[in-house]
């Protein structure tokens, strides 16, 4: 793992009133690695990835993407640069079918423009879009749902669809916000199975509060506690770290 850092944060801090949600975090995400951030509720995980994906602007510090300062860019601009994310509460288009959801996501990447009048003349069933979308439909095991209206699908399928929507635009970094929340065990295994396929050649950052599901496919594990990353390293060493044991396991027995 000697790849260059894709995302670097330098001393980012976010306060809500008197409460410091994220405190002076220095952090590095390397190319093609899968990194999981764990921590109890309220540890600042979600705030931290909101800072990375541009939903909040930090009060202090910098966010770098491939060495370029992106601290002040909006979330849409960051998506255009190649930082895509999913949400803890699924964000998909309930009134479109699965195929159209993915198609819209890929189309934006293909046109590389926020709006064009070609949208009127083009169709999402064009062969090049279809090829790409169907490839990802297969990879995500949702090919059989292609024509289903998303609003009628169970949560697990929606989650997989949302992850697929993040992947299909082929961003450099994909940030997953609690991809397993609200899912049953079997559904979690399905999502894990999908993520494993990608963990080798994509840069993934995911947050979760249950460590058990992450262990077998993340390259590195970081632990967040009271707004700070208290440890970051390979899974085993992180979990055996004395500070982690003290701060994390005590709170999460």
């Amino acid at each position: 793992m000697n790849n260059h850092a894709v995302i670097t944060t330098k001393g980012v801090t976010k306060r809500f009133g008197d409460f410091t949600a994220v405190n002076q975090v220095d952090f590095e995400l390397k190319e093609k690695e899968t990194l999981g951030i764990i921590g109890p509720n309220g540890a600042g995980k979600t705030t931290f990835i909101n800072l990375i994906s541009g939903f909040y602007l930090p009060d202090e510090g910098q966010v770098l993407f491939n060495g370029v300062d992106i601290t002040r860019l909006s979330s849409a601009q960051r998506v255009a640069l190649g930082i895509s994310r999913t949400f803890q509460l699924v964000h998909v288009f309930d009134n479109l079918n699965v195929y159209e959801n993915l198609g819209l996501s890929y189309y934006r990447k293909r046109e590389n423009k926020p709006f064009t009048f070609r949208m009127f003349t083009s169709r999402l069933w064009q062969s090049d879009i279809r090829r790409k979308v169907e490839e990802y439909l297969k990879m995500m095991d949702i090919a059989h749902l292609k024509d289903e209206i998303v609003g009628n699908l169970p949560l697990g399928s929606k989650k997989r669809l949302e992850i697929a929507m993040a992947f299909v635009s082929e961003p450099q970094v994909i940030v997953l916000d609690e991809p397993f929340s609200g899912l049953g065990d079997q559904e979690i295994d399905e999502v894990v199975g999908v993520l494993k396929k990608f963990s080798h050649d994509k840069t993934l950052l995911l947050i979760e509060h249950k460590v058990s599901k992450l262990e077998d496919f993340v390259d590195r594990l970081a632990v967040m506690h009271e707004g700070e990353i208290i440890c970051c390293g390979p899974c085993e060493s992180t979990l055996n770290d004395p500070e982690v044991r003290r701060c994390y396991w005590k709170l999460n027995t």
């Binding site: 849409a76 998909v92 288009f93 309930d94 009134n95 934006r108 709006f115 083009s122 069933w125 609003g151």
Partner: protein
């Protein structure tokens, strides 16, 4: 998933064939069928706003009035050519969309609905009072005698206007089918479901909305122009804000999809026709019906037909077309 050219015109042809068949089966209902076709175009326009982008406007008669009055003023004061009158109405619709769009579409749902109502009231005021010298105010404009003969179809004759309306409706339906299947159509529906996700994917939702809004104004204006030509006169009642309700109800009755607006119009006009034969006004029936549709048949007439069709095919219920279902209300 082959979407050949034929698939774009198959549906519209069937639709038009049905209307034409009805015209010969019920010869005395020609005016009714003309109104259904024209009102259908008007509802299609509103459906682009409501069914696709999820925006409600209480000022639709204003956009209808733009087309009607543009054609009427041209025919009454300037020229005699009906096709030019329609062309001008379309251009004015385009201009209205480009002009009002940027200011209005940024507004939250309820404000959007009401500012359209305000626009509509001001439009009514314009044609009634300020533009009195050219619109004749409440007396209306009469210009049928000024029509010049047109080639192929003589638009001075109601029977030929009916055929002409059928052609226009056919073109609008093909356009609408195309829009529905285009990336733009999917994008507009995406905005309805979750604008924030569309923004997040990197789309410029402002321009998308603006485009949708402008298509709406053009189609509404076209419908208004057809009214003006068929009746040979216009008066300000066409732009009355009170008539904004009809549009919403018919759209809701139809329930999205490509043919929803037409079915909605048929249902609405049919009920109106039926109810008004034994009751002074139709508000009561339409109000009750809308509430029933709101709570029981979320897919509207078209959605319900599709559900029944699906039941027939597979033997079990399939959810209604979600274009207007679920959160459409």
């Amino acid at each position: 998933m082959d979407k050949s050219f034929l698939s774009y015109i198959r549906g519209p042809i069937v639709m038009i064939a049905l209307l034409v068949a009805a015209r010969y089966l019920f010869p005395n209902k020609m005016t009714f069928l003309f109104e259904v076709s024209t009102f259908g175009i008007y509802i299609i326009a509103n459906d682009i706003l409501y069914g696709y982008m999820g925006m409600v406007s209480f000022g639709q008669p204003f956009y209808l009035g733009i087309g009607a009055y543009t054609s009427a003023i041209y025919l009454a004061h300037i020229g005699h050519n009906i096709f030019v009158a329609i062309g001008l109405a379309i251009i004015m619709g385009l201009l209205a969309g480009l002009l009002f769009g940027p200011a209005y579409i940024r507004l939250r749902g309820d404000y959007f609905a009401l500012i359209n109502a305000a626009t509509c009231a001001m439009g009514l005021f314009m044609v009634e009072k300020i533009l009195y010298p050219i619109t004749n105010g409440d007396d209306g404009l009469w210009y049928r005698s000024r029509f010049h003969e047109t080639p192929f179809l003589d638009l001075r004759k109601p029977a030929d206007v009916f055929w002409f309306t059928m052609i226009v409706l056919f073109l609008v339906l093909v356009f609408y089918t195309w829009l529905d299947r285009s990336t733009l159509g999917a994008g507009l529906r995406g905005i309805k479901a979750s604008e924030s996700k569309m923004k997040f994917l990197g789309y410029d939702t402002f321009k998308l909305r603006w485009t949708g809004f402008t298509i709406m104004t053009i189609l509404a204006s076209l419908a208004g122009s057809l009214y003006a030509i068929n009746y040979g006169f216009v008066n300000p009642s066409i732009t009355e804000p009170a008539r904004a309700a009809e549009v919403l109800v018919a759209t809701l009755l139809g329930g999205g999809g490509v043919y929803g607006p037409i079915f909605g119009t048929l249902a609405f006009m049919g009920i109106k026709d039926f109810v008004s034969s034994f009751m002074d006004r139709w508000e009561l029936a339409v109000g009750v019906l809308t509430i029933i549709v709101c709570f029981k048949f979320k897919g509207g007439v078209w959605g319900t037909l599709q559900t029944i069709g699906a039941k027939f095919k597979t033997g079990k219920a399939k959810p209604a077309d979600a274009v207007s279902g679920e959160n459409a209300g």
